[in-house]
């Protein structure tokens, strides 16, 4: 395999926070060398490379960043392959600049045994062109009664343990699972939401839900869920990640946990960063996500928390749903939206509005999730895997949901005017997508 040189690129490195023109040399699937004004002021090294046996890709000044690591992607295998398969999820990811998918175990049936995990690992390896890692359920059947075989599942390749939106109600069960996970160094991912308060809710309580007559949950349910989980983290010492923090009221609890030195990180979703409850308008079910969209004040606080680094990770929480499960009255409709392919252009709204710069955005999209899972990717540095995304941050597009590569087309951004387009994606040095 000849080496590849991605030249004349705007290099976005979240690790150093830099945003400079330069070139990246890929060799043997890893980044061999980075050339910028700083490392190669006269361009002599670059000239030497150019003279050798190398395939040159001219990036024309567009942005080159470490590929996105998306924690919490739902693929419909097993059980709901008509909604999304590993082949379609892989294509959608490649087209969205996502180089590593970390799947959720909330499939039908749940991924709660090493055999089940083995099956989806094989499916992913056969069909997906991007890296795929898997999470496993924390309790059997995600029922919150008995912990899964955490040790065997780790051996089989599980990178984290979560029951997703099935919050473990029984704190004794959860504390035991956390204690056991701690002894194995496993990462536990929680869904901070008080299960009693949020029962039956389809919206966030407030003016909008009252006007539309929708059953609603107080934003406080998230704080209560997070407080409970953090207390158990303090008790057990487990490595813990909160999947989605979406309300301002939960942030002080997170600040305290981090200040106290607990091994706690938090994520949020692309939808909660870019939409608010008013977007639901006349019961548009493509805007029904879990937890429900929040008030604009919450959205602004969450964007600020990502900027400051309090919230570590942004995910798409890609949840494919077919038309039938969405074409129902709002309360009955399924939750979730697809996001693998739309995440980067959608989040670039925050860049264009001046709220986040690109290195900060990629810190939350690539560097932090990789670090949390102990992966070597997420950086633009010599020795890191050549998982890269090349994108034009300014190109205006109108999103057409029927052109998405996902089997399911349930995006709230249909017809949205966005700025940003993925031009190419490399996984371990191999180009898996070209616009």
């Amino acid at each position: 395999m000849t080496d590849t040189l991605l030249s004349n690129a705007r290099l976005i490195d979240p690790e150093t926070g830099s945003d400079d023109l330069g070139a990246v040399l890929i060799s043997g699937g890893v980044i061999k060398e980075i050339f910028t004004q700083g490392t190669d002021p006269k361009g002599e090294k670059l000239a030497k490379v150019n003279a050798g046996q190398v395939e040159v890709v001219d990036c024309k000044g567009k942005c080159l960043a470490p590929g996105i690591v998306d924690i919490g992607v739902k693929v419909g295998e097993p059980g709901e392959r008509h909604k999304e398969s590993y082949a379609t999820a892989g294509r959608a990811a490649a087209a969205g600049g996502v180089t590593t998918i970390v799947t959720r175990p909330d499939t039908t049936t749940a991924i709660d045994t090493p055999e089940g995990l083995d099956f989806i690992r094989r499916r992913a390896a056969e069909d997906a062109t991007v890296n795929v890692l898997h999470m496993a359920a924390l309790t059997k059947g995600r029922e919150g009664r008995e912990m899964t075989e955490i040790g065997f599942l780790l051996d089989a390749g599980a990178v984290a343990f979560t029951d997703c939106d099935h919050v473990v109600r029984d704190t004794k069960v959860l504390s035991r699972a956390m204690t056991y996970a701690r002894s194995l160094g496993a990462l536990v991912i929680g869904h901070p939401q008080d299960p009693g308060l949020s029962r039956g809710a389809a919206a966030t309580s407030g003016k909008f839900a009252s006007l539309r007559g929708l059953p609603a949950v107080s934003a406080m349910a998230e704080r209560m869920g997070l407080d409970r989980d953090i207390a158990l983290v303090e008790m057990t010492g487990v490595r813990y990640h909160a999947d989605q923090i979406t309300t301002a009221r939960a942030l002080p609890a997170l600040v305290r946990a981090k200040k106290n030195g607990f091994d706690v990180t938090a994520g949020t979703s692309m939808h909660h960063l870019t939409l608010n409850e008013m977007d639901v308008a006349d019961y548009r079910t493509f805007f029904k996500v879990k937890p429900p969209l929040r008030a604009e004040e919450d959205r602004l606080e969450i964007v600020e928390a990502v900027r400051s680094g309090l919230i570590d990770i942004i995910g798409s929480f890609h949840t494919p749903q077919d038309e039938e499960s969405k074409r129902l009255p709002f309360e009955e409709a399924a939750s979730g939206a697809v996001g693998l392919e739309t995440m980067l252009p959608v989040l670039l709204r925050l860049y264009h509005s001046g709220e986040l710069d690109l290195p900060t955005l990629f810190r939350a999209l690539s560097l932090n999730p990789a670090k949390r899972l102990g992966l070597p990717c997420g950086r633009l540095a010599a020795g890191a895997p050549a998982d890269l995304v090349l994108f034009d941050a300014d190109k205006p597009i109108i999103l057409d949901r029927f052109k998405l590569r996902s089997k399911s087309k349930n995006t709230p951004f249909d017809n949205a005017r966005l700025q940003g387009k993925v031009l190419g994606t490399w996984v371990a040095g191999t180009r898996v997508y070209a616009a």
């Binding site: 003016k207 009252s210 539309r212 007559g213 039938e324 129902l328 009255p329 309360e331």
Partner: protein, 316 residues
């Protein structure tokens, strides 16, 4: 006089002048209803289907009578018993009915927004007969007509809406309508039954009923919706009656000529004392039922006029 709506999905889309137009026409139909010969021809040749996904004897009877008095062919479909149980989706049911070419579709559904969804999929006029906790426009219109006839006006009145606001689509539609017509609205109820953020709707919220009723012109009681509660909103019905049930003592805080309203069916001894409900000097509860038929006749008449005026749009 204008009425530019294709459907009647809620009070929210209506303009104040459209509300007045509808109430004026309803006044005529009240007169018609009091004659021996009650027939008119406004809907003759049209097909009206009443689709009730939730039981309601009163509203369904009112719509049926309204349609028949105006000469429509009326069909009642009780949806709890039918295809929904066999797993058919709301959209499929709507498409099936649509293929029978109804002109007016009257829909009640237990979920908020379901009637809006249905209206997007059919090409007849849709009337919302109540969707979840969202809206119940004909109830608000009949309440408005009752108030206008009793008080001689529908503006600058002090109106208290009391009881289970949270689960009530009647309350939401009434708040929207009375607000559009420039009245002062007070909501009275235990805080567990008052939805959050409601103060943004231009209303005053009271948890003390006596304070809330002070000097009001109209007292609107709401039914305690036991079937919509998944438990624990109030400690007991007797404590509820003690604090929020309308009796003579609490009513004495309102204006001397204040009227008492209730959308029915009543829970006597829970939200209202039986003697108040039956007091012909105060209670207009029976009038509300009469106005209900007239308002529904007016609503269907106006929608049918728009159907006939724009046949192309309807056929599309």
């Amino acid at each position: 006089m204008r009425f530019d709506q294709r459907h009647l999905l809620g009070i929210d889309p209506l303009r104040p002048d459209e509300i007045t137009t509808l109430l004026d026409l309803a006044d005529d139909y009240v007169a018609l209803g009091r004659r021996r010969d009650k027939h008119a021809q406004a809907l003759s040749g049209l097909t009206q289907i009443n689709m009730f996904f939730e039981n309601s004897t009163r509203t369904q009877a009112s719509f049926e009578l309204a349609g028949k008095r105006l000469g429509a062919d009326v069909m009642n479909m009780s949806m709890q018993a039918s295809s929904i149980k066999k797993g058919e989706t709301l959209i499929d049911t709507a498409m099936t009915l649509n293929a029978m070419h109804p002109d007016l579709l009257v829909v009640r559904h237990p979920h908020s927004g379901a009637v809006d969804l249905l209206a997007q999929k059919v090409n007849c006029a849709v009337l919302n007969a109540g969707d979840g906790r969202h809206e119940h426009p004909t109830q608000a219109l009949l309440d408005a007509l009752t108030i206008r006839r009793a008080k001689g006006r529908l503006h600058r009145l002090n109106i208290a809406i009391c009881g289970d606001i949270a689960h009530s689509r009647v309350a939401r539609s009434n708040i929207l309508l009375l607000h559009k017509m420039e009245n002062r609205i007070r909501l009275v109820g235990p805080s567990t039954l008052v939805p959050s953020g409601i103060e943004h709707f231009g209303v005053e919220v009271y948890d003390d009923m006596r304070e809330g009723l002070r000097d009001v012109d109209v007292v609107m009681m709401l039914r305690l919706q036991k079937e919509r509660m998944d438990g624990g909103f109030i400690p007991s019905t007797r404590e509820y009656y003690h604090r929020y049930g309308l009796d003579a003592e609490k009513l004495s805080y309102a204006k001397e000529d204040a009227i008492v309203m209730h959308p029915g069916p009543m829970n006597r001894g829970v939200e209202i004392d039986g003697t108040i409900a039956d007091d012909i000097n105060r209670s207009v509860i029976q009038d509300q039922v009469e106005m209900g038929v007239a308002v529904r006749m007016a609503a269907m008449d106006l929608l049918a006029r728009n159907l006939r005026a724009n046949p192309k749009e309807v056929m599309a």
